[in-house]
Symmetry: C2
Subunit: 444 residues, 2 copies
């Protein structure tokens, strides 16, 4: 590497690092400073959404060479991320072969195997000799196929018959036939398979590439492990956002418009708010008692939040476990058995703390003569609310999956809202029962 | 495939599917029913933690062949997941070459490149001719190297000099030297690099394998994209659990003991509970006003939860964005600018709903003559609490990262607790100010 090349590579690295901080104009400017080879490197390493932005920001005359730089699967992804008005114009810039491939890919949904695959792969015929196969593969250029680790053996109907690795081709006697040395026990992926399922297959079999076939067994393309890394990230992001009571975003946060952010957040907030309105009704219902035993109010926030927090923990653990396939719907009773016990233990720990706070809280006098009874009432409520929150939090994901919803919708705010309403009812009943039984009905 | 083989493969698939539901004894039994080849397939497709369990459950006499079946990187992972007492015994079962490799791997932490890599890879010398290189590579058995897509060119000091793909070896004239055709612009990974960084390199460059080198540039092994799929899943799981206010679990939920689950959950709950105790103090402080304006109490749960929910949404989005490298620390002011606006808009929407609830809530009479003023007070508080919650939720992850903590610790319960205390103070002040200004100081 010469010094100038070093400087350019450094410039590219810096530009890549700072990318998120730059405006579209600054990005274009930085991009135009780089020599062509470094600019190409940068362009290919950007996420799809940034490639789409850059492509549409470039002058129309410059776009052709950049859109043609992308392999067909990436080109299809980029086209799925530009405005409808731009798509036709960009498609027209592709060469005829790529146009056919990209159009076929655009017909698939982005999140199924067909939308993920690369239609360019190394294909051989079963009747070829090893010598012919190697000669044929040598003629393929880097542009034609993405990852040449396996060659797929296809018959005249385009049906996938077998697979050989490059290593096996090298090892085989040159005069033998592809048919005789190919592996025929294949793991294939239907083109309509959900990308989450595909990623599970990769994880289970530790593979670097899988062939994609249509319903007639015809080979359509290959999915490689590097695509799966992106899928796993995407799916985790969706789950995390749902757990935070946000509808999954389609682009990175900083590239999402304010309007879009509102649309992903407001409906959930409004829905939860409407659920929370029940707490007003509950509070109204117990208003008479509130007047009589005013100091009960003081503990409402802490009791409700304890239930919500323990419920959030349980929901988070179960949602992730379900998503990773670590537990199944049928195991709900195993989970509930553990969580009841854990909930009671956690509740007891917090209950003891709460009892201590009432007894030694400094303002002990404020609670009147009955502070021990009050402490017991608060502690008992905490045990009940925490145990209840834990059960609700661990069961809600199962209920959602059973009803064919995404378990990740059991967001912590959702669980907290469920716990708040029931927590209030529980608290008022437990506390007033204990206080009544002890004869402490009001403040002295 | 014969019919019997079909049946066995089906049995293996079923066993794999049901794995999570079975006890250790049932797993062992199912495992022993399978013919050897299917059992091997099943064993290799199990997660590390299940391999470790199975291995230690097997009679000592049967263990040798199973532990030797594992490639060295997987063997090291399994050994890291067995009891200390078992480790020595299992190490002794390895052949001497594997023992050296596995011991070297065990010296690395599990979550750095060195702990992830496979020390077996195809190595060539720069001075070899292509013909010699191909002959040499042919002699390697499948056991010796995991993924033979690239061959790495190493000098006598074991320094990595270049890389050639199998395809390039096939294409090159047989009499040319490896040195003349290898690529020397290499992306390498230091053996101490954090696995999260390694996964970013894979995502950025869309690679299937990367060489790992020590601080002297000596080649130590390769990391492949299929390992990275597991890393990405693991890291997402950790973040999700932290977001739910649970310390990251080391094993799947169902394999974690109750004691361990308590240890991962109780400290956070207790800490949050102690934080929530501030709400008691705040409530006590405003107790005088509570007595005078009793009905203010009724809205405490809904107002607090609105702040917590909007804060959770903001925190979730920012935490994930930081984890994916979509935004940087320096961008906090960009985020705060957006979130203030979003918080106000969300607050206004909920404020209108809250106002409506007071005005048309059926129990309008219960709020006395001043229900319009009360409605305004509640609405204004909701706007304030939601906007505040949004700001707190979006900024907390930045603050944590700045203080070198994991931003994912900005869990929804943590944010909710922060919002509860400040939300209460805000509510009481806003509400009493508005009510006092309007002359509505108490219930009529």
């Amino acid at each position: 590497m010469t010094d100038t090349a070093d400087v350019h590579a450094l410039l590219r690295e810096e530009l890549f690092e700072a990318w998120g901080l730059l405006s579209t104009e600054e990005r274009l400017e930085g991009f135009s400073i780089l020599p062509r080879s470094e600019a190409e490197e940068l362009f290919l390493s950007l996420p799809t959404i940034d490639q789409a932005e850059l492509l549409t920001a470039l002058p129309a005359a410059d776009r052709r060479s950049w859109v043609r730089l992308l392999p067909p699967d990436d080109a299809a992804d980029v086209l799925q991320n530009v405005e409808d008005a731009e798509r036709e114009g960009l498609l027209a810039l592709l060469d005829p072969a790529a146009l056919t491939e990209v159009t076929a890919l655009l017909a698939y949904k982005e999140d199924v195997a067909g939308g993920l695959m690369n239609p360019r792969y190394a294909r051989l015929r079963p009747e070829m000799s090893i010598d012919e196969a190697i000669k044929y593969l040598r003629r393929l250029t880097r542009q034609t196929i993405e990852n040449i680790y396996y060659a797929y053996v296809i018959d005249t109907e385009h049906t996938l018959r077998g697979v050989v690795s490059f290593r096996e081709l090298l090892l085989a006697p040159p005069e033998s036939r592809v048919r005789d040395m190919m592996r025929t026990e294949l793991i294939t992926v239907p083109d309509t398979m959900d990308q989450e399922r595909v990623s599970e297959l990769f994880a289970q079999h530790d593979l670097l590439a899988l062939p994609v076939v249509d319903e007639n067994g015809r080979m359509k393309g290959i999915v490689t492990a590097d695509d799966i890394v992106d899928v796993v990230k995407e799916e985790a992001t969706e789950d995390i956002q749902k757990l935070g009571a946000v509808e999954a975003l389609e682009a990175p946060y900083m590239q999402t418009t304010l309007l879009e952010l509102m649309r992903k957040r407001a409906p959930w907030l409004v829905l939860l708010f409407c659920g929370q309105m029940l707490t007003i009704s509950v509070m109204e219902h117990y208003e008479g008692k509130l007047g009589a035993i005013l100091f009960l109010n003081i503990f409402i926030p802490i009791i409700l939040s304890s239930g919500g927090n323990s419920g959030s923990q349980a929901a988070t653990l179960v949602v992730r476990s379900l998503a990773l396939g670590e537990m199944r719907l049928a195991e709900w009773w195993k989970v509930v058995r553990r969580e009841v016990l854990i909930g009671l233990l956690l509740g007891l720990s917090l209950g003891v703390l709460g009892f201590g706070r009432v007894l030694f809280g400094g303002s002990r006098g404020a609670f009147g003569d009955h502070f021990v009874v009050l402490g017991l009432a608060v502690a008992a409520s905490i045990v009940g609310v925490v145990a209840w929150g834990t059960i609700v939090g661990s069961m809600l994901p199962f209920v959602l999956r059973r009803l064919k919803f995404d378990p990740a919708s059991a967001s912590t705010p959702f669980v907290a809202t469920l716990c708040d309403v029931t927590g209030l009812i529980l608290y008022f009943n437990v506390a007033t029962t204990i206080l009544a039984a002890s004869g402490a009905t009001g403040r002295t």
